[in-house]
Symmetry: C2
Subunit: 114 residues, 2 copies
Amino acid sequence: MAYESTDTITPVFGALADPTRRAILHALARGPRSVSDLAADHDMALPSFLKHIGKLEKSGLVTSDKQGRSRMCRLRPDGFAPAQNWLAQEQARWGGALDRLAMHLETLEKGPRQ
Amino acid sequence: MAYESTDTITPVFGALADPTRRAILHALARGPRSVSDLAADHDMALPSFLKHIGKLEKSGLVTSDKQGRSRMCRLRPDGFAPAQNWLAQEQARWGGALDRLAMHLETLEKGPRQ
DNA sequence: GTGTTACTTAGCCATATGGCTTACGAATCA
DNA sequence: TGATTCGTAAGCCATATGGCTAAGTAACAC
């Protein structure tokens, strides 16, 4: 099997694999916020914080646009789809886990490998 | 809000943020497989491959036990729960996105921040 | 008991990640 | 105009990540 030609899943899971970024997403779920406003909750220098915003944007989970001197960030719920679809599809595969275990045991009986 | 005292979510998303590891999980959904059996699909040296297995184990998505000289790996479906719960909870938060937008606007009227 | 198979350990390497400071640009306020 | 605020840019640093080779150990096959 092959992965998607352009891998959209990896950056999404990558973005979610950090508590600071998850907290940002959590905050943005309440509505749009400016960068400095979001940053106020995180004891971290602004440039460091902006890297997180940047990663969230690249992953497709967040958009932002500049308004005057401040930058407003907003959630892009569609961005979660690649991750959720992957999880849903995999979950569907182990839906028949017990059946498959039985098949496996049967295989072992016919041609034990261990 | 605080994160879980011991962060179980980060390692799970971290484990999922790699195509090789997702492919391993995909393969294991069919049933248990040995390390070398799994590795055969991935043009990669065994020690490199084992690091991926190790990361999957630390994240709680996979278990393995030694049988003779080979190591059998099996999926741990429960391991996905932290990631799925987080996603589900967040999704619930932007479920009423329009309602919340209204609330947000109301808040702005009372105590404008921007 | 010798060889092969299946990991395992150790260590090297390049790049990515997550943090920092310092300094600059552009918008707003006084 | 001058000071402040909000974001950017550039560059440093330590650690993590994802790959490798080379050399072990333990189990099985002959």
